[in-house]
Symmetry: C2
Subunit: 313 residues, 2 copies
């Protein structure tokens, strides 16, 4: 059996693509991998998905799953191990299992790079965040740490100053990787302090974050600092390992798209953070899933027509 459409990934992009393709009776097969649900499961409250004044991240994902299920999406749990995008039909492997499909929507998302501490993991959603845009308002008049030295770290720091009492940027080096203009803005902002040559060694707290243990990487001196929150802004990594050598990726590994969702292979579409370096919002991911679905509709309709014409001649 050849599927009409397979969707890899179950964040807002994949689920929205499922809702649309299911509603058009293509009976999509959505493959939920490890980390199913995407980054929203790591967020506490979402206040910026238009029309929901406030919804818990996991609840938003559950609502989308129900929505997709209602119209007939089939879900498969497992990790895709290999794809052959040039094959006709396209082949998707889960270990020994092979799934054949006429079209494919890739919505495998991006993963925040974390520092890699056990204590950090324990406090995700309880003071540790990787999304300033999502969570800044929950830290009004608090003191927070931002970890990182790139553009995202500076943007996050500047954005946070509108809400928090103070931002302390903790950076491993003695200079910033960020663009000059972002550096200047951050360095001249009175609410932002910098601690150079330093890494967070442990996140401290009981139920919520209350501090951080910092190590100066030059002197090896360890100090403790009080803080209400830690924003980790050391970058994102698009989950595109599977597609290397088959799809065009940019220098950071994001899938290169035209018109938001078209990849360099016909019948293969990308949606959500896997192809988005800039916006990275639940709503923008959902919309690109929808765009991919509408492109799938167009593509399958063309495919069907071509086959009918071939059958005639």
């Amino acid at each position: 059996m050849v599927e009409n459409v397979v969707i890899i990934g179950s964040g807002p992009a994949g689920l929205s693509a499922a809702i649309y393709t299911a509603r058009e009776e293509f009976s999509p097969l959505l493959i939920k991998g490890t980390g199913a649900g995407g980054q929203l499961l790591l967020t506490t409250d979402v206040e910026n998905y238009p029309a929901f004044e406030r919804i818990a991240g996991p609840q938003l994902i559950r609502s989308m799953e129900q929505h997709a299920t209602k119209f007939g999406t089939r879900f498969l749990e497992g990790d895709v191990t290999r794809v052959d995008l040039r094959a006709k039909p396209i082949k998707v492997y889960l270990g020994e299992t092979v799934i054949e499909t006429n079209s494919l929507i890739i919505s495998t998302g991006a993963s925040s790079k974390w520092m890699g501490l056990q204590s950090e993991k324990n406090f995700i959603g309880r003071g540790v965040s990787s999304c300033a845009t999502c969570d800044a308002v929950f830290f009004k008049n608090k003191d927070v740490i931002v970890v990182g030295g790139g553009d995202t770290a500076m943007e996050d720091s500047l954005f946070l100053t509108k809400f928090v009492n103070s931002v302390t940027v903790v950076h491993r080096r003695d200079s910033l990787r960020a663009s000059k203009i972002m550096q200047q803005r951050a360095l001249t902002n009175p609410k932002i302090k910098f601690i150079w040559d330093t890494a967070v060694e442990e996140v401290l707290g009981d139920k919520k974050v209350s501090g951080a243990k910092l190590r100066n990487l030059k002197t090896d001196q360890v100090t403790e600092m009080k803080t209400d929150g830690i924003f980790v802004a050391i970058g994102h990594q698009p989950n595109t390992e599977l597609f290397k050598g088959q799809l065009e990726l940019d220098d950071q590994g994001y899938i290169i798209t035209k018109d938001d969702v078209l990849t360099n292979i016909r019948g293969v579409y990308a949606a959500g953070d896997v192809a988005d370096r800039f916006y990275k919002q639940a709503i923008t991911a959902a919309a690109s899933g929808v765009k991919a679905a509408l492109r799938v509709r167009e593509y399958l309709s063309m495919l069907k027509f071509e086959e009918e014409q071939k059958a005639k001649h």
Copy 2:
């Protein structure tokens, strides 16, 4: 007083832009014109806004309005009569009133072209629709008319065949304006019939549509036909009259954008159907509103920085 950001239009694009810019404490001013709320107010149920299994179109708009209000959007009712986008700050006129703003989001939407019949107007939302994608599922196993001969009319007809019992295309001419491939697909589909050289003269019905009075434009013969629904697919008109000569528009009047929302003028962004010829969904409009808001944030931050630098020297 110079506003940070003015938003023109109150459909999903404008309201989503308001939600984001309000949440970032830019205190946006949203101008609701005639036809406030956009095309969603003309839809009955929306089943394809991800995470809402089903919501009435007007209710979706109300939820977004509440969401935008909660974070501090200010609403102004009235019609913009003139804009000066090259002025610094940008000028927006409502008759004698002048509003000055550092940035502007244009989300004035598009209007479906209607046939222009009083009886048609009476049945909008009660059997008369301009959106097959939105409303097809409500016509399962019914007989419907599609009015039009272009690509949209053919796409709508083909899409409708998945749900309805029959589609009758009523077209003013004796050949289709649609692309060859769309023509072929529609003409060879057994569920689609064609009535040529004919216009709908009156929509018939009591509480819901039950038929149509048709006039053959060559013979002037008038006939009546039973039908459960009439889909008007004679095109959309982006609402860009105000911006002619200032923004780059395409041959159909849509605002030409880069990266979805950037126009040819710095500080001026377009979101939603006013710049979207293809997707035209509530969710894609909402997402582009969000993208415009994030661009406004970037732009205002740069503007502020430039002013600070100027003040120093």
